[in-house]
């Protein structure tokens, strides 16, 4: 069953074409990985889905409905950023609880309980009272995942969630994401972590110059890359 349908998206920044006619569908519960060289439009694509960028043209529907109200759209779509973007003046618990409390009308006690449960789920029980500056990058990113989950989204977007992390912290974040996907969450993940893609994706999508050039399940994607540009890309990132 289709959760997300994006049709014919175009987006330009000045003279640079970030999205050059992109179509994308996602089924409920599906896990899609998007990869591609920098500047290929991957981040722009997922930022258009929750309207942090406004596409110049094209349509996006989620659960069959076009986004009329920005805020209610964003409440249903969780987003995790490369730079975590935790609120530095709030503890981990407050970072997670503030959305449900202010936007979903939960009481402080209910929101805190939800936050604690989610922090527990991302292996951060016991860190709830810490400010982000007291947490490692990997821990911060897991708080950010919990923060997005606290809104009970129907879709989670990850914008290069491990690109700002030290190597030994990448694993702990990816493990949380794998588990999330196995739990049935619909996810779109922009990443260069091909091990994660192989392990957790239902489909992998390759973008270049604002277009989706190839889209295939992991096995076919890696073993019989359906496009010469993709072959070169895989050689570059897997070859070192």
């Amino acid at each position: 069953m289709t959760l997300l349908a994006a049709n014919n998206l175009f987006k330009r920044f000045g003279s640079f074409t970030a999205l050059d006619g992109v179509d994308l569908d996602l089924d409920r519960g599906e896990r899609l990985v998007i990869c591609g060289p920098s500047g290929s439009g991957k981040s722009t694509l997922i930022r258009c889905i929750n309207r942090l960028e406004e596409p110049d043209s094209g349509t996006i529907t989620i659960e069959g409905l076009p986004a009329t109200d920005l805020q209610s759209l964003r409440r249903r779509v969780g987003m995790v950023f490369q730079q975590f973007n935790l609120f530095p003046n709030l503890t981990a618990r407050e970072n997670v609880a503030i959305g449900p409390r202010k936007l979903l009308g939960l009481s402080r006690a209910e929101a805190d309980a939800r936050a604690e449960a989610l922090l527990d789920r991302v292996q951060l029980a016991g860190h709830a009272d810490k400010l982000p500056s007291r947490l490692s990058g990997g821990q911060q990113q897991r708080v950010a995942i919990a923060r997005a989950l606290a809104m009970e989204p129907v879709l989670m977007l990850f914008d290069e969630p491990t690109s700002a992390l030290d190597p030994e912290m990448i694993r702990e974040v990816l493990d949380v994401m794998v588990e999330l996907g196995e739990g049935g969450m619909s996810m779109i993940v922009v990443t260069h972590e091909m091990g994660f893609a192989r392990r957790a994706a239902d489909r992998i999508c390759f973008m270049d110059q604002g277009r989706i050039v190839a889209m295939a399940p992991p096995q076919q994607f890696f073993e019989a890359p359906p496009h010469p540009r993709l072959v070169r890309f895989l050689e570059n990132i897997l070859g070192h």
Partner: protein, 228 residues
Amino acid sequence: MDPFYMAQVLVRLLPPLGLTMLLSLTALVIATPLGLVLGAWRAELSDQQPAARLIDTWVLIVRGTPILIQIFVFYFILPKLGLQTPLFVMGVGALVLNSAGYQIEIGRAAVQSVAKGQWEAALALGFDRRASLLQFILPQAARRMVGPVMNELSQLIKASSVLSVITLFELHKAAEAISSANLRFSEVIVVEGILYFVFIFGISLIARVFERRLSSAGGLADAGSFAR
């Protein structure tokens, strides 16, 4: 220097010091919220919007002209345009116009200095722009305002001495009157300087307590969101 004479001067300068405090504290209480709120609002406006142009023009005029001229505008020109107000109101008005002009820039810069990712995080959760600003951006910006605002407040207090030119009998005017009546300048200047210093020092102590409270309430840890 005659300490006995200085003590006499000190006693005679206390009532005018009261007026200086009243003038500058009244101006401060109006100019600071006004300037900072307008500045935060300005940060949210695009350059072309009429309100933005109005605010920018205000800042430009205040920055581009001496406060002496600004005070004379209130004293000589506004009454000719039919705006008759008591001297005290005129003086406070000139100080507010001047100080708020600088504080607009403080508020705008502080809001704009908060990382773009903070906006995106708030918006992505589903907060609208207004709620994002109030709930997440302003608390972080507020801490960055304290230092510059304190600077501006000390400027404001000292600028109130220029109000002597419109015959407001504040600290500087009184000091001038005493020294020219007795033709003894050194003692009066020293006492006047000490009084300004003590007043401003007192205000800065209060500001420091305020700053400490702001940072312990959070906002300390901006670096965290960029940590790798």
